[in-house]
Assembly symmetry: C2
Homo-oligomer: 256 residues x 2
DNA sequence: ACCCGGCGTCCCGCTGACCGGTACGGTGAT
DNA sequence: ATCACCGTACCGGTCAGCGGGACGCCGGGT
């Protein structure tokens, strides 16, 4: 259940509906555009958006509304991603410094992976991912490894739902995908070869929870097909992920 | 005007009041604790918090409520800090790699600086700053340089308000502070010597807006008193900040 | 055993905050 | 001029939200 449409019969529901109408690419939306996207009556959007502005969740510009800095502050206090980020930064840092390729940290949320951090230099491979952004689990290395180290039920849940094809190389056959998940579970790494975006390859390793069979998060290294061979970095990602795993086990940051 | 108390006579006001009751250190709050902090009636908090949970802005654990991952996603879409972060990462990255000291990116919001990013390694100097966190402008290098490159009115506004003393070295004399701001404006860098936390020093340089007289953000390098000399890194921060300045001028991400 | 303080949950009748159809003024394209 | 589309403002009906209060649960002090 990715998007429960939120309860539109309550102020709060309308408010978050409006907030969620903003995507990563659309930074600023006009009132009319908000009306279009949310399906709410114009007068309502006008009023609620106004309230959101006075409550500092939205900014008003001459071009329209946009998500405010206050919302950024709030989001950065979100406990799980916050502690994760804090613990992980040094490891991600190391990885970047040794490879100079793009490094990701992500968690699973439903059928998607949500990127918590992304580190890249000036010449980084141009990937569609963004911190706070989402990608389908089945077409990314991080997603696969997260799925491999999930409860079998959710794994089945994902595998049995229709798999979106992002590129010609995206794996949509559940059988093949299932075999890759098994391999990922066995070796503690997953790969991706141009399955989410053309010209990109990835390796990913899991950050494990206490028991060692469930993943809290995953780390990946991404590079362009030419210079970058995922196999060459297996030990590196795995080491980083394991380091983070042992560090995380010493902290409380889980729960349902 | 740091904290307009939000309108408590509206659902939305109550909701954000509850959300803002969470601080960086208090990741999970019980119902009772929320009641205490917000001053709202217990029944109200119970209901609104419940609504926030169904709207995926809060998580419910057996220990209490906490800010959810959905809020993190939302916050990462906030336009200004988002584009800033995206553009700045490579520069921050470079700075870290060359110095292996803690690197910050921050913006000003009222009398505080809000940290947008923080990069540090395993052995980083332990500073009180956190991404999404706040510090008073007058006791940090970033804050000073941001203030120096602000409208004179806001500068006066800050200088004429009581300045909190964080450490014995915190500058609370408006006169001295004013002189430092003038120097920062002239040289394009500001310093801090154990003014926000014991044992830490900083250099910061401004990322300038189109006109070149107002700062959008600032970059800083932080290190421990022993091995770290701020003066040694002046050219480095300044170069990074200028690089980012020219990059930012080619993008639309300002406005009031 | 007993009580007591603090917790989370639930109930329920009153009321004013929210709703959204409707109308108005401005602006740019045709 | 005309039109389409925008943002803004009004306003009366009604129902969602309100919060005092009561309840059951737990743990710790006596």
């Amino acid at each position: 259940m990715p998007h429960e449409p939120a309860d539109l019969d309550t102020v709060l529901g309308k408010a978050v509906t409006i907030l969620r109408a903003f995507t990563v690419d659309d930074q600023v939306l006009s009132l009319a555009e908000l009306v279009r996207r949310t399906g709410l009556p114009k007068a309502t959007v006008h009023r609620v958006a106004g309230d959101l502005v006075t409550n500092r969740l939205l900014d008003r510009t001459n071009l329209g509304y946009r998500l405010s800095g206050g919302l950024f502050e709030l989001g950065m206090r979100a406990s799980v991603e916050r502690s994760l980020l804090e613990l992980a930064m040094p490891f991600l840092q190391d990885l970047y410094e040794r490879t100079h390729e793009t490094v990701h940290l992500g968690v699973r949320e439903g059928h998607d992976v949500v990127y918590v951090a992304k580190i890249g230099g000036h010449r980084q491979a141009k990937s569609p991912s963004r911190p706070g952004g989402r990608m389908p689990v089945h077409c990314t290395a991080i997603g696969k490894v997260l799925l491999a180290f999930s409860d079998p039920e959710v794994q089945q849940e994902v595998l049995s739902s229709p798999l979106e094809r992002r590129t010609p190389h995206t794996i949509v056959a559940p059988g093949l995908l299932e075999r890759q998940l098994a391999a990922a579970l066995e070796h503690g790494v997953a790969f991706e070869r141009e399955e989410s975006a053309a010209g990109l390859q990835c390796v990913a390793a899991p950050v494990l929870a206490e028991g060692g069979d469930r993943a809290l998060a995953a780390i990946s290294i991404t590079g362009p097909v030419g210079r970058f061979r995922p196999e060459a970095h297996v030990t590196l990602v795995r080491a980083a992920a394991q380091g983070l795993t042992s560090l995380a086990s010493r902290r409380r940051s889980l729960s349902s």
